[in-house]
């Protein structure tokens, strides 16, 4: 355990953190869908991505891409919910473990539409999965109450999911995944539909949780450039290549990678004021994103 306040220091790092073993290895994943007109749609092609364990730090990686670029498709494959048409996803399940093909349940997922168990109240939406995964009942209840308190949901503990606001529902969905002590969590569009204050809250929330354990890895799927730059240590741009006429070619892949540790933009709370931050944001917004 490391204290999260010392991790987010305002100022440059003394030294570059060392990169250790690979935690997630995605190799040349392709995904095709049969279309309603009988043709085949290539959503992903040669999609590769690698997340390495960074010494004494958690890993927060963003996958950035425009709508329809295949982010959710990639998430479903990484979570083991869908099989790729080609390629593979390998993952380590815990400290010092070997890479092995991903299985459903290895990775925590906060879905784009925040599904919850509608027939359970908020508290039991948190307790039930934890207890089923083997946690002691009292321990689960204690943890759930603590998390609800931490994330301003105490009053909602006995509410049904349908009675929650959009933002409350999102937080419950995130907490539900956090109950299970997972080291790997993917979030699909965690910033969409939130006001600026709540976007910052979610950024803080994710970063705090991430820093509670250096083995924690968060993969954030988003099209919010600023938030992605603030929170991540690596940023992957997902998009399609173009042919000579400038027409996009089917099949998204990683078009560009930003190593924000090397850029000096990772693990800093004052990152938004840095000239390099502003520069990269501009580059992504005005140059890279329109090309995707």
């Amino acid at each position: 355990m490391t204290d999260n306040h010392t991790d987010c220091i305002p100022g440059p790092l003394d030294q570059m953190p060392a990169r250790l073993e690979t935690l997630l290895h995605i190799e040349k994943v392709g995904k095709e869908f049969p279309m309603n007109d009988g043709s085949t749609f290539v959503a992903l092609k040669d999609f590769s991505l690698e997340i390495q364990n960074i010494k004494d730090k958690p890993q927060i990686v963003s996958l950035l891409g425009p709508s329809g670029s295949g982010k959710t498709t990639a998430l479903r494959i990484i979570a083991g919910l869908d099989k790729p048409t080609s390629g593979c996803v390998l993952i380590t399940n815990g400290e010092g473990q070997h890479l092995r093909p991903v299985r459903v349940g290895d990775v925590g997922v906060v879905f784009q539409r925040y599904p919850l168990f509608e027939d359970l109240n908020v508290l039991h939406n948190l307790i039930d999965p934890a207890v089923r995964s083997g946690m002691n009942k009292d321990e689960a209840k204690e943890k759930a109450l603590r998390l609800l308190d931490e994330f301003d949901l105490v009053k909602q503990g006995l509410a049904w999911p349908l009675q929650l606001s959009g933002g409350q529902r999102q937080r419950v969905a995130i907490l539900q995944q956090l109950m299970l002590d997972r080291h790997f969590i993917i979030l699909d569009e965690p910033f969409s539909g939130l006001d600026p204050v709540n976007i910052l809250n979610v950024i803080k929330l994710i970063s705090n949780i991430a820093h509670q354990h250096t083995l924690n890895t968060f993969l954030i799927i988003t099209h919010d450039v600023t938030s992605a730059l603030i929170i991540s240590d690596h940023l992957y741009l997902l998009g399609r290549e173009r042919d000579k006429q400038g027409e996009p070619i089917q099949g998204s892949k990683v078009m560009k990678v930003y190593d924000l540790i090397a850029e000096g933009l990772a693990y800093r709370s004052d990152v938004e004021d840095l000239p390099r931050f502003v520069e990269i944001r501009k580059e992504i917004r005005l140059v890279e994103f329109p090309k995707l």
Partner: protein
């Protein structure tokens, strides 16, 4: 039902200023008070139509009332109380057994091995149950056992169809949520398939109870030894005592409404979340 004269001057706040207009608007906002008036209005209309109906084959309310008196005073197995009791018992036992059986068959449909069996049961609802009279006769003793068997079998064909459609409409997202949370097959079965569909299952039982009444009267016509409303209706029809027939039909209607209310009460008490509407 709330009825107070003062309410007329001060309508409940959830009534709009023009309750009459709200009554004919799409999703008009009428409060409980206005709603009760609407119901009363319909009952009055029904009674008026009944009083002044030109159809000869329909006895007037006064005749039905006298029929009630005669049936109430009739001795033993030809009396009202006895026959209602016989049929009500059959109805309750039939609904209970067929509900349990149908839930079992429907829930098992999430397991591929049992799907053809489920489909077969659904298909059987097209086959008139009375066609199997002889089969039931050889398997069950005539009277109570045979009646229960026919009713539960016949109702189950319909219940399984409705219940299976409830299961088919479970959003895939819920299943994926459970899998991502590491749920095993049994956890998924309970948390995604069974538990969240129970309120809808109660609705299906309520819907199919009506089908049960149609079957009961038919079944009791073939198994008249014990009596019951069905056998009484059969007897009174053959002697052209239409007032008695209508009296029994009225009783069936009242019992059905009470049972419906009970089921919806059970649903509200056991599954309060099912009352919260989904918002866009």
């Amino acid at each position: 039902m709330e009825t107070s004269a003062t309410s007329v001057a001060t309508p409940p706040t959830n009534d709009s200023g023009y309750p009459l207009r709200e009554m004919v608007r799409v999703y008009g906002a009428v409060g409980g008070f206005a709603r009760s008036h609407i119901v009363i209005g319909w009952i009055v209309l029904f009674l008026l139509v009944w009083f002044f109906n030109p159809i000869k084959a329909m006895p007037y309310p006064s005749e039905v009332l006298r029929a009630f008196q005669r049936m109430w005073n009739a001795p033993g197995s030809s009396g009202l109380v006895y026959n209602v009791y016989v049929t009500l018992k059959l109805n309750i036992v039939g609904v209970l057994i067929s509900s349990v059986l149908s839930l079992l068959i429907s829930y098992l449909a999430v397991i591929p091995l049992f799907q053809p069996f489920n489909k077969f049961i659904q298909w059987l609802r097209y086959i008139p149950i009375v066609g199997f009279n002889l089969v039931f006769l050889t398997l069950f003793a005539i009277g109570w056992p045979m009646k229960v068997a026919m009713l539960t079998t016949g109702m189950s064909f319909f219940l399984v169809t409705s219940m299976t459609s409830v299961i088919a409409s479970i959003p895939r997202m819920k299943y994926e949520l459970a899998r991502v949370l590491g749920y095993n097959d049994w956890h998924v079965f309970y948390s995604v398939v069974v538990r969240p569909t129970l309120p809808a299952m109660i609705d299906m039982i309520a819907q199919n109870a009506a089908m049960g009444w149609v079957m009961i009267t038919a079944i009791e016509t073939f198994n008249r030894t014990e009596g019951g409303i069905g056998s009484q209706i059969y007897a009174y029809t053959s002697t052209n005592q239409l007032a008695e027939v209508y009296a029994y039909l009225l009783i069936i209607g009242v019992i059905a409404v009470i049972e419906d209310g009970l089921l919806s009460l059970i649903k509200r008490v056991l599954f309060p979340y099912s009352l919260v509407a989904e918002r866009a």
